[in-house]
């Protein structure tokens, strides 16, 4: 059977034009996909955790699903300061259920933005987010800037589908109608296709963004001759390109959000875009990594009022990044049990946090072996959303798309497992 218009559950580009060939209950082939999406979909059945596992002195041993739900409920109920973490690679429906559980048990809850675009959120909370959908870029953008990101590798179809090579309504010559600028600290495959590559000194993003703003608002004369390894002349030229574009966009990645002054980089980028809109049309967009990290932020926000790092122990949502962020509560050794859903914190967190993760009961709802499952005390295998379970995901431009289920799974979905845990806790109460 050929299934068309399948949504790729890999990165924030959320391409929805894949063709999947399924025979029986097996995937035979996938078309229209990048390598990353191909490997995830075609390789979905390799290396799966086959049954719920619990750790005792001898190591991990199999238990029944029912027993696993029981153990999960017990761990969460007995914890005084539980944390629920992950969410960026599952559906919004599962995330909603997770928040319901967090509210119920008075848990901390955080999502993976905390270690990637968290500073973007903070920058946006200072200055706002002048943005647009990817189709606006496709149809209009004559100037595209990639800043601190390498879509060629991280979002392989982004440039082809949305931002560089694609033809749109007002850009019917595609690449020829667009000027591409890459700003980064090193050359990359993305910078190789750019018209202009600004190789900047590491950590100088903030200076350069503000220098561009100064030039654009007419205060360029106060600038030194060289900023962050770029000459003032060159910056004036770039500023000119920005002002003279009909529709410009800055895509930015972790190279901006996670270096130097982090959230201040993003705040100043937003201010730059705001100033540019006095002269022309300009937008910015974070290159979100996981396919539904944007959905996680959205669901957290409409349910609790805040996008991540939420402490529900008081019965209401207390949001204070730096205090309630996962790495901070772990490093302070406050957390005494953790539930991980659809992510791998052990691979991404800082050392003090990982040390704490090793000390406390760790429940992982995960399909595959990962650094996190290596430390887990209880592992509940799960169906893979977007392949074995359907639901809603949000693209990096906040557009919701329903991901499909095209393979039957013997495993329950994140949504079902979380629902079972809630029901089990109800039985205890």
């Amino acid at each position: 059977m050929i299934i068309k218009n399948v949504v790729c559950p890999f990165c924030g580009s959320l391409c929805d034009d894949l063709t999947v060939e399924v025979e029986g209950n097996e995937i035979k082939n996938v078309d229209n996909t990048c390598k990353l999406g191909y490997n995830k979909i075609v390789g979905y059945s390799h290396g799966r955790i086959e049954a719920p596992l619990i750790r005792d002195k001898e190591g991990l041993k199999e238990i029944s699903y029912d027993k696993a739900i029981d153990e999960a409920a017990k761990i969460l109920c007995n914890a005084r300061r539980p944390l629920m973490y992950g969410w960026s690679s599952t559906t919004c429906e599962a995330i909603e259920k997770g928040i319901e559980l967090a509210i119920k048990i008075g848990s901390l809850i955080d999502q993976t933005a905390t270690v990637c675009h968290g500073p973007t959120t903070l920058g946006i909370q200072e200055e706002g987010k002048p943005s647009c959908t990817l189709g606006e870029v496709k149809n209009r953008a004559d100037l595209v800037i990639y800043w601190g990101c390498n879509p060629f590798h991280a979002h392989p179809r982004h440039m082809g589908r949305y931002s560089t090579f694609t033809k749109g309504y007002f850009t019917n010559k595609g690449r020829k109608d667009r000027k591409i600028i890459v700003v980064d600290v090193r050359e990359s495959d993305t910078s190789k296709v750019a018209d202009i590559f600004l190789k900047i000194e590491p950590g100088s993003d903030y200076k350069i963004i503000n220098a561009l703003t100064s030039i654009i608002i007419g205060n360029g004369d106060i600038l030194p001759e060289e900023i962050g390894g770029i000459s003032k002349d060159r910056l004036e030229y770039i500023a000119g390109e920005m002002v003279n574009a009909n529709f410009g966009i800055v895509f930015f990645g972790l190279g901006v959000t996670m270096t130097g002054v982090k959230d201040k980089n993003i705040g100043s980028l937003s201010r730059l875009v705001k100033e540019l809109n006095r002269n022309t049309k300009f937008s910015l967009m974070p290159m979100r990594g996981h396919y539904n990290v944007s959905g996680a932020g959205n669901v957290f926000t409409w349910l609790t009022g805040f996008p991540y790092a939420i402490d529900l122990s008081r019965g209401y949502a207390y949001y204070n990044p730096g205090e309630t962020t996962a790495n901070d509560v772990l490093a302070r050794k406050e957390v005494d049990a953790i539930l991980v859903v659809a992510s791998d914190p052990v691979a991404h967190f800082v050392n003090p946090s990982i040390r704490r993760l090793a000390e406390i009961p760790l429940i992982a709802i995960e399909p595959y072996t990962s650094a996190t499952t290596e430390l887990a005390d209880l592992i509940i295998p799960v169906a893979i959303s977007g392949i074995e379970a359907d639901g809603t995901a949000y693209r990096m431009d906040e557009i919701p798309i329903r991901v499909k289920k095209f393979i039957d799974s013997k495993f329950k979905s994140d949504l079902e497992i979380l629902t079972d845990i809630i029901n089990r806790i109800d039985r205890y109460e």
Binding site: T133, N139, K274, W302, T304, F306, Y316, A317, I401
Partner: protein, 571 residues
């Protein structure tokens, strides 16, 4: 059988011409009935009884609202309330979380609310939030005002295709009606520009706001849609815009409809009733607007009342938000949506010491006081643009008491005496008129036959306020009026008591209404265009576009009777 009788209330039910009558109300299985056998008895002994409140325009769900919440944690931290044994945690003052939106409306006696700006491409998002809002019945209006298909069909004069497209879109987005924001102008904003009159051209598309409005008004009638075209005028929020507002209103003059409602609704008219040439010469033209409304039976408006304080503005009119941000310097978000619509969000602080804000405040009240027929003017704050929804009780007390207004006028900048006419207005709203502008007028305009009244067969949505209309004088006891409207004695939703003494006592999940206006072979009319434009210009596949019923709580489809030549309603 679940029966309830509300005894001895003083009932105001304008759509059934019941006014100030001591009357029992019988309820069985969620509906109003003529008598009951073995009911639970609620003796409300002289208290004020209204139909459940209907808010016809309030931004409660979707991308814009969530982007307001996202950029404003400082607002989220206001009004934090912990969960209870039955309710979920609340947050937010002007941009509330979904739970708080439902609870706060219900506590004030509202039972039905319309989200008035759904971007089609993110319609799933709007419906996900609507689904999660408790306590209320919900509707949403789909944005069409600068959509490429719409402008294409208008420019080519293809009215049948336009009708087919609107019908298709309402079904795909589970929308209730046509919302038009800054017709045509929104497309120009995508190049950083706007339109200045009804006859300005939309860049590249060769159509004008006037043509877009006229054709969508025609289509609205062809498709027999329950609600008028719902219009946010061009130049909204700019000094001197009252002219274009009056011009827009005149488009509806003489336009007869089959349904018992007007063809055109002008929303949050306060923001469109500005005089002056700039912010320095800014003044109120509410009198000009009211003159047009009073002589033009083909339009309704809602107020969009502004109240002093901090709030968050949000609209599909991105140009407006950008310009507001230029004045305030506050944070600003923009969200242009491919082929369809746009939007912006920015916080604002309305100050009683700032002349412009004081005049804006006066304009809303003037419009409400100068428009004679209360069925033509609904009470809204355009939540949260003019003020958060929780400010309604205060506005009701202002409309009911000249004394209260005089007291307020003394507190605010003197511009109110020079560039507004509020101080000279004597009218005081009566209870019955309040019931119309907060209930009956909206229910009628949305043609929600089971809402906004207490006749036999209506949904048993009832509000009982803790005030005895025959024992108080609202023009003097305005504080009591405000208090009573802030916290209902009882809110009854679908026959169940959900609020008692201003507290949520039961959490319920409401219905979601949408309009199905499909007609014979409507899809075939536009199929090629859809396939072509989706393949070439959208970034989402046609197959993956839109919403289905899994996202709706208790979906209620409203069937219409479209007639397009020989084509009629799809069987």
């Amino acid at each position: 059988m679940n029966e309830l009788i509300i005894k001895n209330g003083i009932v105001f039910d304008p759509l059934n011409n019941i006014k100030d009558e001591k009357k029992d109300i019988c309820i069985r299985d969620g509906k109003i009935v003529d008598d009951v056998k073995n009911p639970k008895i609620l003796d409300v002994n002289g208290l004020l009884v209204f139909p459940g409140g209907v808010d016809g325009h309030s931004h409660i769900a979707g991308a814009k609202v969530n982007s307001g919440r996202l950029i404003r944690p400082e607002d989220g931290r206001r009004s934090l309330k912990p969960k209870t044994s039955i309710t979920m945690p609340s947050s937010g003052y002007s941009v509330k979380n979904v739970f708080s939106e439902g609870y706060d409306y219900s506590i004030m006696g509202y039972t039905t609310v319309v989200e008035p700006a759904m971007p089609p491409l993110s319609a799933i998002h709007t419906h996900e939030e609507l689904r999660d809002i408790p306590m209320l019945d919900k509707l949403s209006l789909t944005l069409f005002g600068f959509n490429w298909f719409v402008m294409g069909y208008v420019s080519r004069g293809e009215i049948d295709k336009l009708a087919a497209y609107v019908a298709w879109m309402l079904k795909r987005t589970r929308g209730y009606g046509i919302k038009i924001v800054n017709p045509g102008g929104g497309e120009n904003w995508k190049w950083g520009k706007n339109v200045d009159s009804l006859d300005d051209q939309v860049i590249h598309f060769g159509v004008t706001p006037r043509e877009i409005l006229n054709d969508l008004m025609k289509v609205n009638e062809i498709l027999d849609l329950p609600h008028p075209i719902h219009v946010h005028t061009n130049k909204l929020g700019q000094p001197g815009n009252y002219n274009i507002t009056v011009d827009t209103m005149k488009l509806a003059s003489g336009f007869e409809t089959q349904r018992g409602r007007e063809p055109l609704h002008i929303t949050h008219v306060m923001f469109s009733s500005y005089g002056g040439e700039n912010w320095k010469t800014f003044d109120s033209k509410a009198d000009e607007i009211a003159r047009e409304v009073n002589s033009n039976k083909f339009i309704t408006v809602d107020v969009g009342q502004l109240m002093f304080g901090d709030t968050t503005t949000m609209t599909a009119d991105g140009y407006l938000e950008f310009n507001l941000q230029k004045l305030t310097g506050f944070k600003w978000s923009n969200s242009d949506t491919e082929l369809e619509t746009g939007g912006g969000v920015t916080p604002v602080i309305y100050s009683p010491t700032v002349p412009v804000n004081v005049i804006q405040w006066a304009i809303g009240l003037e419009a409400a006081l100068l428009i004679n027929d209360p069925y033509q003017v609904w009470l809204t704050t355009d939540h949260p643009n003019g003020a958060p929804l929780t400010r309604y009780p205060e506005i009701i007390s202002l409309l009911m008491s000249k004394e209260k207004r005089e007291k307020e006028i003394l507190q605010v900048n003197n511009a109110v005496n020079k560039r507004a006419i509020l101080p000279s207005l004597d009218r005081e709203y009566e209870w019955n008129e309040i019931a119309i502008i907060t209930r009956a007028a909206q229910a009628n305009s949305y043609q929600l036959r089971d809402k906004g009244h207490l006749g036999i067969g209506a949904d048993a949505d009832v509000t009982i306020f803790d005030i005895k209309p025959n024992e108080i004088d609202p023009s003097k006891d305005y504080d009591k009026v405000e208090k009573a409207f802030s916290a209902a004695k009882y809110t009854i939703k679908g026959g169940e008591i959900v609020v008692k003494d201003g507290q949520i006592v039961k959490v319920v999940s409401g219905k979601t209404y949408w309009t199905n206006a499909e007609f014979d072979e409507y899809y075939e009319l536009i199929e090629d265009d859809l396939k072509d434009w989706f393949a070439n210009y959208y970034t989402v596949n046609l197959d993956n576009y839109g919403v289905n019923d899994v996202y709706l709580t208790n979906p209620c489809m409203i069937r219409t009777n479209p007639t397009i030549g020989s084509r009629v309603r799809l069987a």
